[in-house]
């Protein structure tokens, strides 16, 4: 029998593992969100609603059923692409459509900028270890890391939008249009996400590259008279890339969910804003759907990161030495 290609083997086992994890996650999400304090009915109907009215609406939305029955119904719905209905009675899939795309767009743009910049800064700092350029990059990233992302966002608004009036302060996207057609509204949210993600990725890449540059085989190449460019291309980049890809993917996916505060600061029409309003109003169905989408996206990206690791590491790719 032909042996299965290591990459395919990894993909299949990862996929199977993820399906099990996703099933577990869905249960945790449903029950966990259900246990959150708050009641979508009373928070919507307010203090003037009679207990009979509250009971009637609860029954109408099926909230009077036991949690396991509701979980079963929810799961059956998901299989058919139905994420349930919000407290106001709108289909959750309708609420999410468009917004998920907007958030992914934001994360993709930030990641697309993050990849070359963090790689460039990380390698540059590692090569100039201990010198002013390294100190500037490392200190800058440390400072950025120590500030919450919404502070970075607020700061950018103050300077670039309100002070200098170069860019819009909030992402007001006209009705019937999309953020892509109004790219100016994307600049500040992308920049905010990028700055925080960049700080982290640069530090990790710098550390990995600095370690490689001190490795005996690099020292050997250098003593053999290889140029710095060749050393970088043949020894440092291949060693750093598997680590860097993991960081980029993880930072990218965390930007989808982690962009909550940034989206709120800019009023960006993504899932972050929806998540905040749904949690505030106790709209369980929407929160459950959003958390599941975010959890599923994270699992998918972790799988891709695993596969990238296999692909970029020759020993794992060929199956040699793995066992």
């Amino acid at each position: 029998m032909r042996p299965v290609h290591p990459l395919l083997r990894h993909a299949l086992s990862g996929l199977a593992g993820n399906v099990v994890l996703l099933a577990g996650l869905s249960f945790l999400v449903f029950v966990g969100v259900d246990l959150l304090p708050g009641d979508p009915i009373t928070s919507r109907l307010g203090p003037t609603a009679t207990p009979e009215r509250i009971a009637a609406v609860r029954a109408e939305l099926g909230l009077d059923q036991p949690v396991l029955t509701r979980y079963g119904d929810w799961l059956a719905g998901i299989v058919h692409g139905d994420l349930g209905r919000s407290a106001a009675g709108q289909p959750v899939t309708e609420l999410l459509s468009g917004r998920v795309g907007n958030s992914i767009l934001l994360a993709c743009l930030a990641t697309a900028c993050l990849i070359p910049l963090s790689f460039g800064f990380g390698l540059a700092a590692a090569r100039r270890r201990g010198r002013p350029a390294d100190r500037a990059i490392s200190t800058g990233s440390l400072l950025l890391l120590s500030v919450p992302e919404f502070v970075v966002a607020g700061f950018l608004v103050l300077i670039l939008a309100i002070g200098l009036r170069l860019l819009p302060a909030v992402s007001l996207v006209p009705a019937g249009s999309s953020p892509v057609r109004h790219s100016e509204v994307l600049v500040l949210p992308v920049l905010s996400l990028l700055l925080v993600g960049l700080a982290y990725a640069t530090r990790v890449i710098r550390a990995a590259a600095a370690g490689t540059l001190r490795a005996p085989y690099v020292e050997f190449l250098r003593l053999s008279g290889q140029s710095e460019r060749t050393i970088l291309r043949t020894a440092v980049v291949p060693a750093v890339l598997p680590v860097a890809v993991q960081i980029w993917l993880l930072t990218g996916v965390s930007m989808i969910g982690g962009a909550v505060l940034v989206e709120k600061v800019f009023g960006y029409p993504g899932i972050g804003e929806l998540l905040v309003t749904s949690v505030q109003t106790g709209d369980l169905a929407v929160v459950q759907a959003l958390v599941l989408v975010l959890g599923g996206a994270t699992l998918a990206v972790l799988l891709i990161a695993d596969l990238a690791m296999v692909l970029l590491t020759p020993r794992l790719r060929t199956g040699g030495g793995a066992e």
Partner: protein, 509 residues
Amino acid sequence: MTLSRRVLLRSAGLGAAAVALPSACGAAASGQTPVQATASATPKPGGTLRAVFTGGGATESLDPYVGGAPVDLVRHEVMYDALFRFRGNEVEAALALAAKPVAGQGAFDLELRPDVVWHDGTAFTARDVLASFAYMSSPERAYPSELSAYFDFAKATVTGPLTLRIPTRQPIGEPALLLASYPAKIVKPGKSIGTGPYQVDAFAAGREARLKKFDRYWEKTAVSDELVLSSLTDPQAKVNAVLSGQSDFSTDIPFTIAKTGTSNAELEIRTAGPLGRVGFGFVLNATKAPFKDPRARKAVRLGIDRQALVDSVLLGFGAPGNDLFGAGSKHFDSREPLARDVDQARTLLKDAGAAGATVVFRTAEYEIGYNASTQLVAEQLRELGLMVKIDQVGVPEFFDVKALGQTDGIVFSIGALPLPVTYSRLAAYPTLGLPDAELKTALGAALAATDEPARAKAWATAQQIMTDRGNTVVWGQADTLSIARKSVAGVETRAGQEKYPYLGRAGLA
């Protein structure tokens, strides 16, 4: 890399310099006193007015009986008309010309305005009103119209092309007041068309609505050709939209931002004025001890330091309250607030057997300042010997029925809504209502009164009872603040709608 302390400090110095930059950019600096909306300025016809309000995200709707976020309410006000409406705090005719009680019949006759057309060009008739009544009071609705408590819409009949007869469930002397007070927009069920001065051009829930002027509006047509209403959920983002020139107007801005003011010469901070304030306070649970005893309730009223609360919670934007909700509305009893008297309060508590008692006050940051006010009141009441345990919860769990029943006091606020609305909302829930037969009689008399002196007398009696032994503790009247380009004119505040102004006559001067 080893990062020496010197290097870090030097780099941090650069960061600090960058932090100092925004003030140099002139983002916010002064601290002017808010100006009252420039009623004298006249907006120029034409152009586009852009305004931003608190949105409801994806739950916003063009249906006035679905969406309830401030931006929804502003949009509904200009797209749809009601039968009667408020100008200031006086009722005036809108789609209806008159609502006359029929003597001895337990009903009233409604006469509609002729020559009104819908946005789709069809004529407005009595059948549209009947359909709207059925739609708003449908029992399948999560919250059927509160008007159903007064009127029996199911038995309403069309008596002519522009007349209807509507039975009432209790004697109602002035049906127009109730029809103006409660949300009762006339709609074509299931369609996003109204009879208002603006019609929808484009709409994206949670983002924006573009409304264009309706040229066949029955009243004077709107001033601006186009209204762009944007939705944002973050208060700072709303202000930033105006500061950066992306929008012309935003209201309900936080006191902290108003305190900072703006150094931009084109902008100003405005206040809706004394008639557009929101009463901040607490409602005491008069169904259980210790607040079942009116002396304990009076002790709380005497024990709070109103000015201190106005200064620290509202940052001075407002005035002390007199324990009655509805300041600014017609028939409101604007007597002087009680002065703090800790000794008398202690005596009253002792007489009520509540000295040293522990009470639970429930709070959530439903409005900015709720939690802070509860903390402060708890400290002030501790001086009387009343131990306040604060039950601070998230907004979604605030109205939990069981918890509300167990609590001794809850934070509460209500704007300058007409008194029938204020008192019906307070009476709707057992924990909030005051179980008092005399109050019930006075409120019934106020609703049934067909002439002005009788109505005024009944409201005076009801508010006297609330002053003597009421369960509301209104410590402050909070200003409603907005930020606007100085050229924005014609923004109207209608009774109780200070946070959702009427933009039908608004534009740029």
